[in-house]
């Protein structure tokens, strides 16, 4: 199933105006400066925010169409969404959180193991570390067997090694379940590694230049000054 | 087991309870009382409360029920006497209650609500008769019921209170002293059998009992006539 979306919305300091599509089994990575509108885009896909105009089509379902006044509520879009601030339900332990909307309760235990928090399943969210909470939120989203997965900086609180492992797991899970994934990250290496498609979002619009600028940044005078101390690392992921 | 339900004006609770015990022993008919202000009982009755008998604190309401076809002809079941009571025994050293009230030290006097409580109306009439009503205005404290008027006096919240003779037989009542207010009209309390009663025979038996010497004895014990 392919997601196709195009929408406009006036935010306070710029207009969001973007269109993109993400094919089945593909992973689209959104990247861009802070405050650029990535989370807002994800929220619109999830049905939590309403574009001023535009259209969202998933496969042959129309989720949103400003012309025909169609707006499918989040419940019926059947997707997985890991929020940027990964809020779990504070009254439930990690297992119950992950199992909150699970299709098969059995899978939940496995998922928690895959994400290496199986031993913490009896703990409440405030009793575990930030990275552990984040991983639980991913389990929660996956356990409901979504048709589309929205991940808003899901690994931001994880160390490189854990992150690397989980990214692999996510990839293989995706292959098993075959749904499109839209992924927000600030880590370009990660973006380039994961992405089937890249969507650089700057001030609400797609901006391919930004990515270029970011990677091959001309060493400015300032940068030269710093160069003495800066490590040049070749990261082997 | 036979049973009647009686709506009783709150001032008559003590006497009523003893009568009920006596009556039950004699007739094996159980008597249940509901006690609150006469006004409340009246509005219950006109809204269909399942009482068999109504013992009011006045004459007016039973008469009205009778007129509206809700009750039989009323009869008088008790007469009460107004008194002026004080917790301070020195208070009664004066010759008359008027003199006692004129004492400088008497700053506050409780009286039951003159519009809603019969004892309040009676006290007002007595004060008017002796020409003290206007002068005492600033010292008067209004209690809602005659029992509350007595409470004020017994807790020394006021220096003296117009209340019912029946108050003097209680434990606290005995600790103080009182004047009988002869100038106050007697408080005539009348009762009636309600038309909706489901057990007229038993209700009539209790009505008769109220007029009997045995009941009279209890009434006197509690300060009624």
């Amino acid at each position: 199933m392919t997601v196709e979306a195009s929408f406009k919305k006036q935010l306070k300091y710029f207009e969001l105006d973007i269109s993109f599509s993400c094919a089945e089994e593909n992973m689209m990575v959104m990247i861009g400066p802070s405050g650029g509108g990535k989370t807002t885009i994800i929220r619109m896909l999830a049905g939590l925010e309403k574009p001023k105009e535009g259209k969202i089509v998933f496969g042959d379902e129309v989720w949103f169409d400003s012309l025909h006044h169609i707006n499918v509520p989040p419940q019926e879009r059947c997707l997985g969404y890991v929020f940027q601030d990964y809020n779990l339900f504070p009254h439930l332990n990690l297992f119950d959180n992950a199992a909150f909307a699970a299709v098969e309760k059995k899978e939940v235990g496995e998922l928690l193991e895959v994400f290496k928090i199986g031993h913490l399943k009896k703990r409440k969210p405030h009793m575990v570390s930030g990275g552990e909470r984040q991983r639980c939120a991913i389990c929660q989203a996956l356990a409901r067997r979504p048709r589309l997965l929205l991940l808003d900086e899901p690994f931001s609180a994880l160390d490189a090694i854990t992150r690397r492992g989980l990214r692999e797991e996510l990839k293989s899970l995706k292959d098993k379940m075959s749904f499109p994934i839209i992924y927000v990250t600030h880590d370009i290496t990660e973006a380039l590694y994961l992405a089937d498609e890249l969507l650089p979002v700057v001030e609400g619009k797609m901006d391919n230049q930004w990515l270029q600028k970011m990677i091959n940044r001309e060493p400015s005078t300032e940068a030269v000054l710093r160069a003495a101390r800066e490590p040049r690392l070749t990261l082997v992921y | 087991e036979e049973k009647i339900s009686v709506a009783v004006a709150a001032n008559f609770i003590s006497a009523f309870k003893e009568m009920a015990v006596d009556f039950e022993a004699k007739t094996k008919i159980k008597v249940e009382g509901t006690f609150t202000s006469t006004g409340n009982l009246y509005s219950q009755i006109i809204n269909g409360a399942p009482y068999d008998l109504f013992l009011s604190a006045d004459e007016e309401r039973p008469a009205k029920l009778n007129k509206d076809g809700l009750a039989d002809t009323p009869f008088i079941y008790a007469k009460g006497q107004s008194i002026l009571w004080s917790a301070n025994k020195d208070f009664c050293k004066a010759k008359t209650w008027q003199d006692a009230l004129k004492n400088e030290k008497v700053a506050k006097i409780a009286i039951a609500n003159i519009q809603t409580a019969p004892y309040g109306t009676a006290a007002q009439k007595a004060l008017e008769k002796v020409g003290m009503w206007n002068d005492l205005q600033s010292k008067l404290v209004i209690a809602q019921t005659v029992a509350q008027s007595f409470q004020y006096a017994s807790t020394s919240a006021v220096d003296a209170a117009f209340c019912a003779m029946s108050a003097t037989v209680s434990a606290d009542g005995k600790k103080g002293c009182f004047f009988v207010i002869k100038e106050a009209p007697e408080i005539v309390q009348s009762a009636c059998i309600l038309k909706r009663t489901t057990n007229r025979a038993a209700a009539e038996k209790f009505a008769d009992f109220l007029k009997s010497p045995a009941a009279q004895e209890i009434k006197v014990k509690y300060g009624y006539r």
């Binding site: 989040p74 009254h91 | 509005s43 017994s154």
Partner: protein, 218 residues
């Protein structure tokens, strides 16, 4: 000491509390999450039972619940019996009398819940109703406890209303507070004080229970 009256009091308080938790929750939900014309007016109406003196409420309840009243007639059609002067009658009166104490703290608790939790639940496919039971209720435990405590204690002390609607039928509608009232009226202050003191352990036990439940949750 009138143990039967104490028993009726407890029974009434428990019944009222349970019923009101069920009735008040949806009302509080609507007040917390929806905006509509006349909402404040509706709220004012719901809260009116606190603002009115108990005797006045009792007075109107008699009218409504009496054989000629709206509720009374429906009840008679359904059951053939009268509502006034029965336990069910005082239970209904007590529920109406205590509604505001259940609605207000629940509303406060509901409206304090982090919106993001609700969004999360919606995205996970939960209907509004399911979200209410699985997210809002469990995260409002302290507000619900507050409501339960207020309602329970308030219905122990309720008296003016019950006396009007219930009379004083031993074992049926004669609650402890009526017994106290009668003792006071009879100037039997010691008996009144004894009875009133017995409320302390009852309230205490209930508070302990609620606090325990509340702690177990969190």
């Amino acid at each position: 000491m009138d143990y039967l009256a104490l028993y009726v009091t407890l029974k009434l308080a428990v019944v009222t509390t349970v019923l009101l938790m069920i009735i008040a929750a949806p009302i509080a939900y609507v007040l917390a999450y929806y905006r509509f014309a006349g909402k404040s007016l509706l709220e004012a109406l719901i809260y009116l039972p606190i603002a009115l003196p108990p005797t006045v409420i009792g007075f109107y309840l008699i009218i409504f619940m009496g054989p000629k009243g709206f509720i009374g007639r429906i009840w008679e059609m359904l059951t053939g019996g009268s509502l006034l002067f029965t336990f069910i009658g005082i239970a209904i009166a007590s529920v109406i009398y205590s509604i505001p104490f259940a609605v207000q703290p629940m509303k406060a608790a509901f409206s304090k819940i982090d919106r993001r939790l609700l969004e999360s639940a919606y995205v996970l496919g939960l209907s509004k109703k399911a979200t209410f039971f699985r997210v809002i209720i469990p995260n409002s435990a302290s507000g619900i406890a507050a409501a339960a405590i207020l309602v329970f204690l308030h219905s122990i002390g309720a008296f003016g209303v019950l006396l009007m609607v219930g009379g004083s039928i031993p074992g049926e509608t004669r609650v402890a507070s009526i017994a106290i009232y009668e003792a006071v009226e009879m100037m039997n202050y010691q008996a009144a004080a004894m009875m009133a003191l017995s409320f302390i352990p009852i309230s205490y036990a209930f508070l302990l229970l609620i606090n325990k439940l509340n702690e177990a949750r969190s």
